[in-house]
Amino acid sequence: MTDTYAPLSLHVPEPGCRPGDTPDFSDFEIPRAGDVKRPPEDVDPDDIRDMAFSIVRVLNKNGEAVGDWAGALTPDELRTGLRNMIKLRTFDARMQTAQRQGKTSFYMQHLGEEAVSCAFAGALKPGDMNFPTYRQAGLLLSTDYPMLTMMNQIYSNAEDPLHGRQLPIMYSSKENGFFTISGNLGTQFLQSVGWAMASAISGDTKVATGWIGDGSTAESDFHAAMVFASTYKAPVVLNIVNNQWAISTFQGIARGGVGTFAARGHGFGIASIRVDGNDYLAVHAVAKWATERARRGLGPTLIEHVTYRAGGHSTSDDPSAYRSGDEAAAWPLGDPIERLKTHLITIGEWSEERHTQAEAEILDEVVSTQKKAEAVGTLGDGKAPSPRDMFEGVYETMPSHLIRQRQEAGY
């Protein structure tokens, strides 16, 4: 018997839209707000497998909150959320410009993704620990952590709590539940599971959250995190922020043939949910559900936040080289700030005037804070941390070879 086969060829996924093309999201299935039911926290992950293919949404087209994930937040809490998102966007815009003006070396913004970290922050309790990537500053900015300190870090100035050692935006605050950002993709996803295991080993009720981008789910550490989380039923919430792009690489390269990133959780028996990442109410509700599961010892949850990176990857990036400039406007899940604003207006708890006023107040706060930070110093203006600081903190006690090197360096 002779079999004949056609020659094989390599399959390389391609995005539907490149520069010059018209964006088309018609294949992207979006369930109506309210359609996805809220299961009890102690649900068997096997019984909610469909949630990895649908999308939890609360805000409908008219700005109403609908379905059984709605109703978790008071108007005051919603206004705080809106302010936090405006603050993050304003902060980003100012810092992005400061980088362009040469006041720092590098910046990464959240444009279009503000709801993810801002809404999640509200679901956490003191003592919980986030293991964020560089694109979840809302987890920090939404706490009482001083914006001035964040700017001092960005400027690597004399009051930078990290003494100029780290790249801009790689903040760290144990007190505010914000684990030191590494910059090496995926590593910290796994550490979040370890932190959660430690909480369980210690008999605490603290939970951890891991954060990773769509592109970075390809890293081995992502998969290792899922194994450990599922084996030990760690009290952890594992978050994938699917903003459609990893620098120039569209999400299909990391996702391969699987329907969704959330569905990766199924092979590990982990409760896996997709949520509309541009819907503040939905992100918050899902975050509450998942943290509650974790805190009650019901196991880990994998959440895919479906959103869109409306800006460049970083200040080093020009997205017009690899994607259509119209894509952000065509993104079907809209803008998170606009959507929450519309909702608050719809329920009679906000107005255009109050919004404009809030924007102005926030801009004032950000600008005046920026002035204070710049008075302390910006990168390269000489008002930097001491070169001595670079030798400190490598170890708790400086070993003799480093003391010798520091002396050799003259510091």
């Binding site: 003494h163 050692r165 780290q166 790249l167 390809a218 081995s220 120039s248 490598v394 070879h401």
Partner: protein, 337 residues
């Protein structure tokens, strides 16, 4: 001959290699449509098609591991690790697999593979975009380690790396991508296009692996350098007036010990310069070799000028970077004895 930046020269080298041999396959993070974050592979996907130049998932272990499989099959993968700082997840694949395939199978399987990665600092990249991990690779038996310092060398060494039957780590000093850099960071960048070393031969200019290059002749002290530090060493020699001979090693493994020996035996003095941290750095290996082969010619203790044994800092970049002032001091000091 054409004037090229180092980025263009490495791109041209890819083009030559891919045109000559259809087994050459190029991939890595952002390498396909976009052409890499430093644009080294720009245009290659369009020219050679998606199965010869493509984007990889963000998984360095995966990139290297699949490349080993391809190399063993008979292809010649050339892969990009976006920054040398991100190679560590691939460590097991490189150290336990790529480096040993030939030896452990007695040549039954081999691994003709080029792993490219931008290396070194000087761009305010902080601890995750600045590292110089060359010594980690030279410590592994079975790997070759190259590091060019100018566009023509980059092209020629790259072509030899592709032709090589064994795995080659190809380190690209990113601070040199667009022009030479002597450590005087306040000076405006001089483009390769306006520099005599920006001249790159057409076609295949393969440069033999394992040959150093004397970039400045001198009689009083030998300076061993590579990558960005070649220009720093030259500047230090000019500025101190020390009659230094600067050797650009280009190939750390295999190493051109003959050229080093001949120079040190002539000058009787040796300064070793690298940007990487000092302890167990490649300078330690160089010092041992010079000691073993030139001891009776040495007139003064050798000196190493290196990065400090700390993570690469962000704000204190120029206090960390071993610039011309520090190298100059070493030159003067070694001349005192």
């Amino acid at each position: 001959m054409a004037k090229m930046t180092m980025i263009e020269a490495i791109r041209d080298a890819h083009d030559v290699a891919m045109a000559e041999d259809e087994r050459v396959i190029v991939y890595g993070e952002d390498v396909g449509f976009f052409g890499g974050v430093f644009r080294v592979t720009a245009g290659l996907q369009e020219k050679y098609g998606q199965s010869r130049c493509f984007d990889a998932p963000i998984n360095e272990s995966g990139i290297v591991g699949t490349a080993i499989g391809m190399a063993a099959y008979g292809l010649k993968p050339v892969i990009e690790i976006q920054f040398a700082d991100y190679v560590y997840p691939a460590f097991d694949q490189i150290v336990s697999e790529a480096a040993r395939l030939r030896h452990r199978s007695n040549g039954d399987f081999t691994c003709p593979l080029v792993i490219r990665m931008p290396t070194g600092g000087g761009i305010f990249g902080g601890q995750t975009h600045s590292q110089s991990p060359e010594a980690i690779f030279t410590h592994v038996s079975g790997l070759k380690v190259l590091i060019p310092s100018n566009p023509a060398d980059a092209k020629g060494l790259f072509l030899s790396a592709v032709a090589d039957p064994d795995p080659v780590i190809f380190l690209e000093p990113k601070r040199l991508y667009n022009g030479p850099f002597d450590g005087h960071h306040d000076k405006p960048l001089q483009s390769w296009k306006k520099h005599e070393l920006g001249e790159v031969p057409d076609g295949n200019n393969a440069i033999e692996i394992g040959k150093a290059n004397i970039t400045r002749e001198g009689n009083d002290v030998t300076v061993l350098a590579y990558g960005t530090m070649v220009y720093v060493a030259e500047a230090a020699a000019e500025e101190t007036g020390v009659d230094a001979e600067v050797i650009d090693l280009r190939s750390l493994l295999p190493l051109d010990l003959d050229t080093i020996k001949a120079s040190v035996q002539k000058t009787g003095r040796c300064v070793i310069v690298h940007e990487a941290t000092r302890t167990s750095g490649f300078g330690a290996e160089l010092m041992s070799l010079v000691q073993e082969t030139c001891f009776y010619h040495l007139e003064a203790p050798m000196i190493r000028v290196t990065g400090w044994d700390t993570p690469y800092p962000h704000a204190q970049e120029w206090e960390y970077f071993p610039g011309p002032a520090r190298v100059g001091e070493a030159l003067k000091k070694v001349m005192e004895d």
